[in-house]
C-alpha cells in the first residue's frame, strides 16, 4: 500500500499543480494542502519533493508540516474520523466521545487501525458549534454525538 500510495502519477499530478502556480513564493501551505489531498498524507518523500520543487529548504517544509495539526505524516485510514475538541464541543462532552472512539478502535489520536479502515484525529472547531459535540467521518457530519452513539456510528462503515 505504501508503495502504491507514492505512485509516479501522484508525483506528476503534484508537480503539474506546483508548475501551474503563478508564483511559488508564499504558497507552501497551499501546496502541502494539495499534496495531502493527492497522497492522503505527507511522508518524507513527498515533503522532500515539495521542497525541491518549491525551492525551499526541506527543514522549513518539515517545520510547517509538524506545526500544523492538519498535516499528517502517517497514512490516513479509508475513513478518517475527526472529533472536534473546540471550545463548544469540548464543554458539551467531546472528550468522552473521543475516548470512546479510541477504546472501540484500539488506537490513539493520529493513528490508523491495522486494517487501514479507520484513522482518528482530534481537531479544533469545524464551524458547526450549534451541533456540538461534532464528529466528522470523511465529509459526513454527526451532531450531538454521545459516547453511546459511537458503536452505531462505526457500524455504518
Amino acid at each position: 500500500m505504501a508503495m502504491d500510495s507514492l505512485s509516479k502519477e501522484k508525483f506528476e499530478e503534484l508537480g503539474t499543480y506546483i508548475d501551474s502556480l503563478p508564483s511559488k513564493k508564499g504558497e507552501l501551505i497551499r501546496v502541502l494542502h494539495r499534496a495531502q489531498g493527492i497522497f492522503g498524507y505527507l511522508p518524507k518523500e513527498v515533503q522532500f519533493f515539495v521542497a525541491r520543487k518549491m525551492d525551499v529548504p526541506t527543514s522549513k517544509v518539515y517545520g510547517v508540516v509538524t506545526f500544523y495539526s492538519y498535516f499528517s505524516m502517517t497514512p490516513k485510514g479509508e475513513h478518517n474520523i475527526s472529533v472536534c475538541l473546540g471550545t463548544a464541543c469540548y464543554v458539551r462532552g467531546a472528550e468522552p466521545v473521543l475516548e470512546e472512539f479510541k477504546k472501540q478502535l484500539g488506537i490513539s489520536c493520529n493513528e490508523t487501525t491495522a486494517d487501514g479502515k479507520f484513522s482518528l484525529n482530534a481537531l479544533r472547531c469545524v464551524g458547526a458549534c450549534g451541533l456540538a459535540p461534532v464528529v466528522m467521518i470523511g465529509d459526513k457530519v454527526y451532531g450531538r454525538v454521545t459516547k453511546d452513539m459511537v458503536k452505531d456510528i462505526l457500524a455504518e462503515y
Partner: protein, 586 residues
C-alpha cells in the same frame, strides 16, 4: 534620525528613534541580562525572538513588564530595570527555565561558559521549587563534529537563526509545537544525512550545553600515553590568536609560542605548524590559478572563477548545494589535509617509521575539520592523514587537564622542518587572507618582480562580500571574498547566472570573520569586538614575520626540491590534491 528622550533608572537619556530599551540601557552602562537575544556586530547576525523574557523591565504606565530586547523606546518613556517587581519576575522566569533543564552542571562540558548558569547566579536562584513535565526525553544526536543534546535546549533559536539567516544552510528548523516544540533536523534525520556542513556556528552561539563540539580529547590522551606512537601536532593559524582567552588573556593576544610550549609539555613528540602547510597550499593552489588564468588568456576553455577549498564547511556546502559547479573549486587539499599528507609520507619516511605509528593531531578553530579529517580522500589504505582534530576549546581543555597554565609559560619554537612559515600563512585565519596570500605569490610569479605593496587592503575587513580588481601582468584579475555561507551562496548564484562581474578567483570561509570566528573557537558570547581583536592580532603577526610570501618559505622550497619536485607535479597531485562529489542531502 529623530531623537527620543527617555528616563532609565533615573537617568535622562537621548537616543535615536528605533532603538530598543536594551540598546539605550547599554549606551549608559546599565546592564540588563539577556538569554535568547544575541547580536554579533561586525556580522549580520541577530537573534531577537523575545521568547525567554529574561530581559523584562518595567515601563511606567504599562500594565505588563516588557522585554527590553524587543521594545522600541517612545518619547517620555520612564523605564525601571531593577525594581523589585522586575527582579522577582526575572528570578521566576529563570526558575521556570531551569525547572525543565537537566541539573548536571558538575559534569556538563559547557559549565563555566554557560549563559543559563551565569544567569541563575545573577538572578539569585538557589532553589527550584517548581516541578512538572520535563523535556528530557530527546535522544542525543551526534556526528563527528557536533553533539546535539536537546534536553538542555532552552528554545532561544539562536542556532536556527545562525544556520538559516547567516549561513543559509537551513539544516535546522522549529519542529512540532507547544511543549513538544524542539529545534531539529528534517524528519529527525542524523546530521550527516542533512545539509548540515558541520561549521559549528550553531555551537558558537548556543547559550547552554545543548550544542557542543564532539569531544575527542580522550583519543589524544591515549596516544600521548602510548610509547609506540610518535605524536605530531599541527596548530592552525587562527588558534594562536584565540586560545589565550581560555586562560584569562585579553582577546587578540598572540600566544603562538606559549601554545607550542604547552603542547610540548603535554608530551608531544613534534609540534609543527599548519601555517607551514598553508604556504604549501598557496604553492599548489596558486599554481592551479595561474594555470587556469593562462588557459583563459590564451582563449582556451577553463573553469573560472577558481574557488578556494581550504574551508571544510564551505566544501561540504558546495558539494551538497551546487552540484553543477564542482569543477570550480581548487583541487588543492586544505592546509590541514596537506599537513597530514606531508607528515605521514615525507616526514614519516624521514623518521623511518611506518605511517601507522605516527599519530597526527590537529588543533583547529573549527568543528568541520573533524569531518574533513574523516574523508576517504584524506586516507591512505584506510589510515587517516590526520588522526584526531581538536578544536581550540578542546585543546584548552586538554592543556588545563594537564595542569598547565598556558598564560604563564615560557615561549618555545616550533620543531623543524614542518614548523617554518610566512606571514602569508597566518592570514589564512581571517576572511580575505587566503586570497591575499595567493595574490602575493601569483603576482610575483606572473610579473617576475617584487610586489610594490604587499598588503591588499581591498580584501580585508568584515564586509560580507568584498570585490577587488588587481592588475597583474597587464591583465585585470577580478577577485571576490565572502565569509558566512549566506554571502557565499549569493556569490555562487551570481556566478551560476553568468558571472557578470567576470570573477577569476573567489575565496570563501564559512564562518563570520573567517577561522578567527570558527565554530571551535573560545566562545565570543555575542561580543563582536573579540573577533575584531583576533583579526588585528593576525595582521600584526603577519607584519612581524621576516618572510611574508609563501613562495619564499625556505622549508617549502626545500620540500619541493627534496620530495614534491614542483607544484602540481604527479606526486604533489597524488598527495596534496583531492576531488569533490555531489552529496544529495535533506
Amino acid at each position: 534620525m529623530a531623537e527620543i528622550h527617555v528616563e532609565i533608572d533615573g537617568k535622562k537619556v537621548t537616543a535615536a528613534a528605533g532603538s530598543t530599551i536594551l540598546d539605550v540601557a547599554k549606551s549608559v552602562g546599565i546592564e540588563i541580562p539577556t538569554l535568547c537575544y544575541m547580536k554579533l556586530h561586525n556580522t549580520e547576525y541577530k537573534c531577537q525572538p523575545a521568547s525567554c523574557r529574561v530581559c523584562v523591565v518595567e515601563v511606567q504606565g504599562r500594565r505588563n513588564l516588557c522585554p527590553a530586547c524587543a521594545t522600541p523606546i517612545t518619547e517620555g518613556m520612564v523605564i525601571k530595570t531593577t525594581s523589585m517587581r522586575v527582579l522577582q519576575a526575572r528570578k521566576m522566569i529563570v526558575e521556570l527555565l531551569i525547572s525543565d533543564h537537566p541539573n548536571d552542571c558538575l559534569t556538563c562540558n559547557k559549565s563555566g561558559q554557560c549563559e543559563l548558569q551565569d544567569l541563575a547566579r545573577k538572578a539569585g536562584v538557589v532553589n527550584i521549587s517548581l516541578s512538572g513535565k520535563k523535556q528530557s526525553t530527546y535522544e542525543v544526536m551526534e556526528n563527528k563534529a557536533i553533539v546535539r543534546d536537546m534536553s538542555k535546549c532552552i528554545m532561544c533559536r539562536r542556532c536556527e537563526k545562525m544556520c538559516s539567516n547567516i549561513q543559509s544552510v537551513h539544516a535546522l528548523s522549529g519542529v512540532d509545537r507547544g511543549f513538544e516544540a524542539v529545534v531539529g533536523t528534517s524528519f529527525g534525520e542524523p546530521l550527516d544525512n542533512t545539509v548540515c556542513v558541520g561549521c559549528g556556528q550553531c555551537v558558537a552561539v548556543c547559550p547552554v550545553g545543548a550544542l557542543m563540539e564532539k569531544d575527542d580529547t580522550d583519543a589524544v590522551i591515549k596516544a600521548l600515553a602510548d610509547p609506540d606512537k610518535t605524536v605530531v601536532f599541527q596548530t592552525a593559524p587562527a588558534t594562536r590568536v584565540a586560545i589565550g582567552e581560555e586562560f584569562g588573556l585579553e582577546p587578540g593576544t598572540d600566544v603562538t609560542y606559549k601554545m607550542v610550549t604547552a603542547l610540548k609539555n603535554l608530551g608531544a613528540d613534534y609540534v609543527f605548524d599548519t601555517d607551514y602547510a598553508a604556504d604549501l597550499t598557496i604553492m599548489e593552489e596558486g599554481t592551479e590559478l595561474i594555470g587556469r588564468l593562462t588557459k583563459f588568456l590564451n582563449g582556451e576553455k577553463t573553469a573560472l572563477p577558481l574557488l578556494t577549498s581550504c574551508c571544510p564547511g564551505w566544501v561540504n556546502f558546495y558539494e551538497s548545494q551546487f552540484p553543477d559547479m564542482l569543477d570550480l573549486p581548487s583541487t588543492a587539499k586544505s592546509p590541514q589535509g596537506m599537513f597530514g599528507a606531508v607528515a605521514k609520507n615525507y616526514f614519516a619516511e624521514k623518521l623511518q617509521i611506518p605511517r601507522e605509528k605516527m599519530f597526527v593531531v590537529s588543533i583547529m578553530p573549527c568543528t568541520a575539520k573533524k569531518i574533513e579529517a574523516a574523508r576517504d580522500e584524506l586516507k591512505a589504505d584506510g589510515n587517516p592523514d590526520v588522526d584526531v582534530v581538536l578544536t581550540t576549546r578542546e585543546a584548552a581543555r586538554l592543556i588545563k587537564f594537564a595542569n598547565i597554565d598556558l598564560a604563564n609559560l615560557p615561549e618555545s619554537d616550533y620543531d623543524n622542518p614542518l614548523g617554518e612559515s610566512t606571514g602569508a600563512a597566518v592570514i589564512f585565519g581571517v576572511t580575505g587572507g587566503v586570497l591575499e596570500a595567493a595574490l602575493r605569490t601569483v603576482y610575483e610569479v606572473l610579473e617576475k618582480k617584487t610586489l610594490p605593496s604587499i598588503e591588499f587592503e581591498e580584501v580585508r575587513g568584515f564586509e560580507g562580500i568584498k570585490v577587488a580588481t588587481i592588475s597583474i601582468a597587464g591583465q585585470d584579475i577580478n577577485v571576490a571574498v565572502a565569509h558566512g555561507l549566506g554571502n557565499a551562496r549569493k556569490l555562487m548564484e551570481e556566478i551560476k547566472n553568468g558571472n557578470p562581474r567576470n570573477l577569476h578567483a573567489v575565496e570563501v570561509m564559512a564562518c563570520p570573520g573567517g577561522c578567527i570566528g570558527g565554530g571551535g573557537q573560545p566562545y565570543h558570547h555575542g561580543d563582536g569586538d573579540i573577533l575584531a581583536a583576533r583579526m588585528n592580532c593576525t595582521y600584526e603577526i603577519d607584519e612581524g614575520k621576516p618572510i611574508r610570501k609563501s613562495h619564499e618559505n625556505p622549508a617549502i622550497q626545500a620540500l619541493y626540491k627534496e620530495y614534491y619536485q614542483k607544484p602540481g607535479s604527479e606526486i604533489a597531485h597524488k598527495q596534496l590534491h583531492t576531488h569533490y562529489t555531489y552529496r544529495e542531502k535533506y
